[in-house]
Amino acid sequence: MEILILCLTMLHETRPPITVAPGLHLELAYDVADPHPNGLGQPWDMEMDPRSGRLFVAQSTVGGGNILWIDFDSGLAGQLPFFSQALGFAPDGTLYFGVSNFILGTWERDSDSFLKFAIIPSVRGVDVTPSGHLFVAQGSFGPIGLFPDTVLSVDRGDGYFEPHWSSDDAQQQTGLPLNVMTSLSVSSQGSLFAGYHTGELIVRHPNGQYESLNYRSQTIGGLNEQPTFVDHLDLLYQYDVTTGQLFAINGNGRVFLLAYGDDMKGQRFSNGAVTSDGTSVFIAADYQKIYRLSDLQGTAISDFIETPRSDMTVSFTVLQQGDEIPVQDVMVRSAAGMMAKTDADGFAALASSDPLHEITFSKQGFRLLFLNVFVDESTANHYTVRLNPGLPEWLAPGLEAQILFNEREHGIAGSSDVCADSQGRIYSMNFRPGTITRHDPVTGESEVLASGGGLANSFVVSLDEDHNIYASIGNEGVMRLPATAAFPLFLTIDPQDAAQVHDQYGNDLTFSRVRDVDGMVFLTNGDFIMSSGAGGAPSPGFPNGTFNTLIVKRPTGAESVYSRGLVQGAPSPLFNNNDIAKRDPQDRVMVGNRNGDVVRINTSGDAELIWPGNGAGKPDGLGAFSCLNDDGQGHLFVRGDTGDGSQSVIRMIHPSGLELLPVAIGLSQCFGGFQFSDDGRELLISDDHNILLIKSPDERTIADHLLSPKRSVLQLSQTTRTMPPSHRHSYQEK
């Protein structure tokens, strides 16, 4: 326990103050915190009311959520009693807002009535142009609507809506995988700016062309929802809550870093809010404050950006973590657009007139590294950084770690689950390219078994005893790839039926139509358990849906409810957007949930909370969508975040149930499957671009090493910011 505290302390960076570009001034505008009735909780969106000048904030709170309004002039505040994740004002003061994740509502000011306006679920962005044209961004976490992940043009007279955006075209033109839409801004020229949940910011120009702007790839909880706002001068503000940075992007695509700092970072969530009143920019996130940034001279930010400045130089030396040798050919890039490669000494220099920079250091085979720098004429402006090849930041004493398979050589990209068959071959679910790959540790060979068919939205891969392979068809069902199939399979989804997937030979590979299955496991009697989460909409055989339910498919093919996570005498079920599912030697099913709760279901279907995700009454929480598995020796291991969300860890629940013993800290992602060898001495981990192997070098099991460590190991601390753990994009909502 003391070692754990020591390691975590060493990993924590001391938070520097917020750094703003010289000439700008940052002040605290509001800091009343939830659960105060007018307190800030977890903001999703905010905007100034053109009629009253008040700031309206759509937010989640302890009590569920509200729309908070703040009058800075009078100091008054109040709330509208609706939980919303997006809002926007029309020039006449009519407010349009998402009502929970169900519909688009409106506040008719003259009649002071709140009305259902359009049946658009999962509203994640609302903007009205100066000419009164209403646009709404519909995401896809939560209830499914007609046009998920698109921007809708909405008729303000009758609420009719139609799509005004094509994510398919945007993907094709930008080359970026685009999933869930999470923000929207519209310029007066008719450009639409849409953010996606993993950091992509895409603009649709009036001519219909799509372009990526200032792509942000870091995440909290798997998401980087990046609120945006376009002011009256068509300057786009982009607030990266994950990294604590505020950018301004003008119509020419020029990116200017206005401010950065740890105090601007979200604590647990990557959503936040940004808006402008014409001269000042306001930002807010789950740190429960609103900051106001303005030019000291009182001029518009767009003018501030264009102020002429002299060029300055900043230089870097890049070394490899561990052996401290210089790394050549590292691409050093500034968000403002400058770039250079390191030489044989690991040295590179950039010149720019901008005072603030976010620098990325990238090279295949190493974790991406970011550095915020402040450059002025008075300092040396030189930094030394270290790149991590992909190993955990910290390992339990006595254990060894190696990268078994990587992206460059073996095609591992966005690995979210891993399993092994009886011949020792390893299967990886790679959600980024949407492939299932198989790797042989003996021969070193790797092959792609399947691609397409919704695998880009599958986070699970499982095998039966005959080596048939199971994965999810996006959120629409479960597929089964026969072991005897002629691999590789190129899968397509029937355009008329999202649950139908076929291979190139026309074989129907749909195994089940149960929706939103992100966990699956076979029991010893051959029953197949599927974990269907919050997206478990009605499907054949389940007219009321399979929300938050374990469904069993018997060997006969019959499907029925296995468990709804009910505990006798409890007011509500334990399942909360249930996710990963594994079993222990007693055939009890263990289920990870959105809130991090680990729930165990016995063979009678009764549920029991094993560990609370928020850590209540325990030493620490687990983070959302914790992964879990048994080591075959009766020890339960969990993978997720540390309670403060700062690190991705794999830990063992002590047999006493009172402690969490870390195996590895500082993985590339907090989610993802892991599997033990039968003897408990080896641990396979899917970790984004790598499959890692952690093993015991002796006859003791990994659990033995945790329970009786032989020696301590110091890890190296960093002053820079590595790519924080990558989190499942369904962290926030599914």
Partner: protein
């Protein structure tokens, strides 16, 4: 015009015919004879048409013979002020002075004095009426409210269908079919033997859908109106009526009837819901005893039983909606589980009516009492029943030969909505010259149907994550209407009649079923990811309407007649009552020309139906009191029709006929509605050619 040559030929032929000899059997009544025809619907006692104290239109037997109409609504649509709206092949709505609507609940339809109004849902299913057009002697249409005589639901007016009584033995066979595959057949056989008369009427009526999906740009923006199963058969109804009449003497008779109509129809119960198959039947038993006690008056005792039964699945299941191919269907309302709405609504009524006049004829009184019991079992409404006890009286006092004053009142005690009163006051000036003037004031009421009071149905709209609850409201008040009419009639000899009428109507407590849209009334359930809206019936609005009409008849010769009528309406706030989408065309025109020469008779008609106010609701309005729909794309349409009937000399009593409706095939959609999500559509109707035989024996 698409067929100018055809039009010219028709006119030329008709013109030639006009010059030649006349067959008396096919001639119209003279206008004077028409005005002297006795009608019963104004007071429930017999009174000459000219002396009717309230506005009343008449369709005579000859009108019916020469109309070519295939059903009763087609007969009615030529009358001034009557709106006939074809919602679909098997669903037609009729109203008077505007106020037409899908499932019109504000018109009372009678056959020989017995009600065809179905209290369960408050409508008349015109295509389920057990008689056919050829059974009708005449139709009396009361324009405007008539609760002082008939009680509840005689709100917009009354259509009283008087059937033919057998006077000899014989019969008739009527068979037809046409290009839209709408075969129908009807046989009527009557036997008179001494004091007994027997009558058997039987028939069938079938039709397919025509152009089921109505689609035009900007309307079906999210197509939700496509039915899930292509069902070629829109209507398939069979009918049988058996009557026995015993004439004790000249002053006493007993008539007993049993009839049934049964089959399949497609009804659109609510905007946005699909056209569902309804397996329906309408059975009745009626017995009427009439006794003319001379100076003690005329007594009429009637006993009536009716059983309306239905089975429908109403909407598809959620599984079917999710499996539907077309994406727009994902906004279809559905039921979670397959459910058959299977119910009966039974009505029993007793009435006793007495009519008498003073020996001088100066005063005529009609009075009566009635009792009705309605019992609903299962289906759309749980088991419910209600009773209505009524008493009415009206008195006509002829102060002068030219001045008739009439007053009538009716009191209804309804076991659910309590008491209500209808009245009528009239002053009818009939000088011995060519000009008549009548002034009328009336009040009527409509009681809410059992569906409006008690229903509780929950539908699922899966891709909206939306559940919709329809819930009745047992606190509803009756709707009210008050009307004032001024009618001026000029008749010149036997040849020319012009009637001009102006009316004002005021409505109170109109019942609608809006979903308010208020967020505070929506139930959001994060556990199921669904939200629930409740649509309940409420007494929502008051409104007004006014209109004027012109009705002209001209008979240049005994074998020719021309009619022309026009109606103009100005409904104020009527068409935007939340939750009730009324259609009140601003202008309707009817014109017709009929001529008979020898064995050939011809009728040419023209009908024009305007839009509602052209500036009405070009876009939807989702404000709290907004109508929530748009009238953009509403059509105005005109229909030319022709009817030819020719006797076959070789076979006694045999006629051939040809009816061409919508000669120029100008497709039109009479009914549709639109709201922000759910669209409803009727059918588009084009040219229909129907031909067949009529054989009287």
């Amino acid at each position: 015009m698409k067929y100018p040559k055809l039009w010219l030929v028709l006119f030329a032929s008709a013109g030639l015919l006009a010059q030649n000899e006349v067959d008396p059997a096919m001639t119209d009544l003279s206008l004077e004879d028409l005005l002297n025809l006795e009608v019963v619907s104004a007071t429930r006692g017999a009174v000459p048409l000219r002396e009717s104290p309230i506005p009343l239109s008449l369709i005579t037997a000859n009108d019916i013979e020469m109309s070519g109409a295939r059903d009763i609504p087609e007969l009615l649509q030529r009358l001034v002020g009557v709106d006939v709206m074809k919602v679909g092949t098997s669903q037609t709505e009729v109203s008077i002075r505007g106020k037409n609507i899908n499932f019109n609940r504000r018109l009372l339809v009678l056959i020989d004095g017995r009600s065809e109004y179905i209290d369960l849902i408050g409508v008349t299913l015109w295509h389920l009426i057990p008689i056919s057009v050829s059974d009708i002697e005449r139709i009396e249409v009361v324009r405007g409210p008539a609760s002082s005589v008939y009680g509840a639901n005689a709100f917009a007016g009354v259509v009283n269908i008087i059937t033919k009584q057998p006077e000899t033995s014989g019969g008739q066979v009527h068979i037809s079919s046409g290009n839209e595959n709408q075969p129908s057949g009807h046989v009527r056989a009557h036997l008179k033997h001494n004091q007994f008369s027997w009558l058997l009427q039987a028939g069938f009526d079938e039709a397919e859908n025509t152009n089921t999906a109505v689609y035009f740009p900007g309307f079906n923006r999210i197509p939700t109106t496509v039915n899930f199963e292509d069902d070629a058969s829109s209507k398939s109804v069979s009918k049988v009526v058996l009557s026995g009449i015993y004439d004790w003497s000249d002053d006493r008779s007993l008539r007993t009837e049993y009839g049934t109509a049964f089959g399949d129809m497609e009804l659109i119960p609510q905007p946005g819901l699909p056209r569902a198959d309804w397996d329906v039947s309408n059975q009745f038993f009626q017995s009427e005893y009439v006794h003319d006690a001379h100076h003690l008056g005329l007594w009429r005792f009637q006993l009536h039983f009716r059983d309306f039964s239905y089975k429908t699945q109403l909407v598809p299941t959620t599984v079917d909606v999710l499996s539907a191919e077309e994406q727009g269907n994902s906004f279809f309302p559905s039921l979670d589980d397959e459910h058959l709405f299977d119910g009966h609504s039974k009505m029993q009524s007793l009435s006793l009516v007495w009519q008498n006049s003073t020996p001088s004829g100066k005063t005529t009184a009609v009075a009566g009492i009635e009792y009705r019991h309605i019992d609903n079992k299962g289906g759309l409404v749980p088991q419910r029943s209600k009773n209505v006890a009524s008493a009415f009286a009206n008195l006509t006092y002829r102060t002068r030969s030219w001045l008739h004053l009439t007053g009538g009142i009716r009191f209804d005690h309804d076991s659910i909505t309590s008491n209500d009163i209808g009245y009528a006051l009239s002053a009818n000036m009939l000088p011995e010259c060519e000009h008549d003037l009548r002034v009328t004031a009336r009040r009527a009421f409509r009681t809410p149907s059992l569906f409006e009071l008690y229903t509780d149905i929950e539908l699922n709209v899966p891709r909206q994550n939306h559940r919709v609850r329809f819930r009745g409201n047992n606190q509803l008040n009756a709707e009210e209407i008050e009307t004032a009419d001024i009618t001026y009639t000029m008749h010149v000899g036997n040849r020319f009649q012009l009637e001009f009428e102006i009316y004002f109507e005021r409505y109170k407590d109109l019942i609608g079923n809006p979903e308010s849209g208020r967020l505070t009334e929506i139930e959001f359930d994060p556990n199921t990811n669904q939200f629930l809206t409740t649509t309940s019936f409420e007494n929502l609005s008051d409104a007004e309407s006014r209109g004027l009409q012109l009705d002209l008849r001209y008979q240049p010769k005994p074998n020719q007649s021309i009619f022309l009528n026009a109606h103009w309406a100005d409904p104020d706030e009527l068409n935007d009552v939340p939750g009730e989408t009324f259609f009140t065309p601003q202008i309707t025109l009817n014109a017709g020309w009929r001529v008979t020469y020898g064995d050939l008779s011809t009728q040419l008609t023209f009908r024009y139906v305007d839009k509602t106010d052209p500036h009405e609701f070009p876009r939807g309005d989702l404000s709290a009191n907004g109508p929530n729909f748009t009238r953009d794309h509403q059509q105005r349409y005109s229909v030319f029709a022709s009817y030819f009937r020719c006797r076959v000399p070789a076979v006694k009593g045999l006629d051939l006929f040809l009816f061409v409706d919508n000669i120029f095939d100008d497709h039109y959609v009479a009914y549709y509605e639109f709201d922000s999500v759910l669209n409803a559509a009727g059918e588009a109707f084009g040219r229909e050619i129907n031909g067949g035989i009529i054989w009287k024996f």
